[in-house]
Symmetry: C2
Subunit: 228 residues, 2 copies
DNA sequence: ATCGTGATTTAGCTCAGGCTAAAAAACGAA
DNA sequence: TTCGTTTTTTAGCCTGAGCTAAATCACGAT
């Protein structure tokens, strides 16, 4: 049995576990590679390896050298807890303090590490126990259950499809500001009015109000949708 | 001219400058001693010396070896900014999220280091630009002016004096809970009903409602008062 | 004036969390 | 299969922020 006690949960550890969680999820369950994690965390690959060794030692991840990293149950709990903090804070900043949706991410990135359970619960209650953050991403429950996000991307919809914006990738403020200027917030229903023959190109969408807008390819890949 | 650029403003630096600010203030302008700072920061004296050297190098403090530490103007600005963050967060947690006054300090101690100017301003506005935190301590203005705190301590009041609670030292949750249970929140008027012949002893106070309460000596020294 | 005590600094160590350069393993193409 | 490329790890270094033990300074009492 690994030494799961010892080793304090620092911000760097929380960020690492969160990155593993998200990378594994994005990769359909495949172990997260060193380079992929290095990209997400914006650190050099050797730094990933050394952190991986330490956390494997502590029983928070499984690390098969040269093969990749997955979370143990203990690690998953910390990752999801951190994501819950992050998304609750984003929602709180947006809802209670009016911070625009393209700026909540960076702030939450720091707050997630300093939030007590008590204040987490108070924010949750003040917001009426929200299920999704301002970008449409599901907020894990207090019991740390975490709904799967929408998977279909706007760029992949066929001509004529009717759908609703489910989630927009956070992390790129400029992109969010652009998507916001198009009015494509989570929940917004629309119809695909024009699509390039091969996926990935720019898309024209018609909103409920009747307005038609062109959505650039970068944005069309960052917007995930669900059935209207 | 000292190299005031370089050296990032880490949480440890903010805490250090804050400690110098408060210690110098408490000492009536005398330079802060190494041991005093070590006590406030809960680190060992040699750690204080090495931080002092680094910050003197960076132009944030003046350090005369064996003599003590004072802030430069640049250091003062950072210290006061940090205190502003701290007290604004305390007030926000108390007012907006209902966190009891004996628990806001520890949370604010962490939040003060991660608060952006934007969110600071939004909290300030949401609270209606408060001038004092939940313990009665003055909140520095956005321009970083900082009112002097009340100086008279309840324990020093003579028999029969009428006064109002101005400020209660934060930092000791148990003490705050005790003072709260006596109803002695900032702003509360009272009269000294019974006082030990020499200062520092327990004191009996009569509240406006007529109730009389005994205030233990520890508390009587932690409560600062102003003219009623 | 000196001497002991207490405060302060120096010397040298540790750990976390980064980095670069070089070695080693995995993988795909020939 | 073999060989070059890419990915990952090892080796070794750095900085920040702490620590203890030992040396040094300041100061008050004799």
């Amino acid at each position: 049995m690994p030494d799961s006690s010892r080793s304090p949960i620092t911000p760097a550890v929380e960020d690492f576990l969160k990155a593993v969680y998200e990378t594994v999820r994005a990769g359909g369950g495949e172990p997260a590679g060193t380079t992929a994690l290095a990209d997400v965390l914006r650190i050099a690959p050797p730094s990933v390896t050394s952190m991986a060794k330490k956390l494997a030692e502590a029983g928070l991840i499984d690390h098969v050298p040269y093969r990749g990293v997955t979370l143990t149950e203990a690690g998953r709990l910390i990752a999801v807890e951190t994501i819950r903090h992050h998304r609750l804070v984003e929602t709180y900043l947006h809802q209670a303090l009016g911070v625009p949706w393209d700026r909540v991410h960076d702030e939450a990135e720091r707050w997630e590490h300093v939030l007590s359970e008590d204040v987490e619960a108070r924010m949750d209650a003040a917001l009426g126990f929200p299920t999704h953050d301002p970008h449409g991403a599901p907020i894990p429950t207090p019991a740390l259950e975490h709904a799967a996000p929408a998977t279909t991307v706007l760029a992949d919809l066929p001509l004529g499809a009717r759908a609703r914006v489910a989630e927009v990738d956070d992390g790129d403020g400029d992109l969010l500001r652009y998507v916001g200027s198009l009015g494509l917030y989570p929940g917004t229903p629309f119809e695909v009015a024009e699509a390039a023959p091969y996926a990935g190109g720019p898309v024209r969408v018609r909103l409920e109000a009747g307005a038609e807008q062109t959505v650039g390819d970068r944005a069309a890949c960052a917007i995930r949708v669900e059935a209207a």
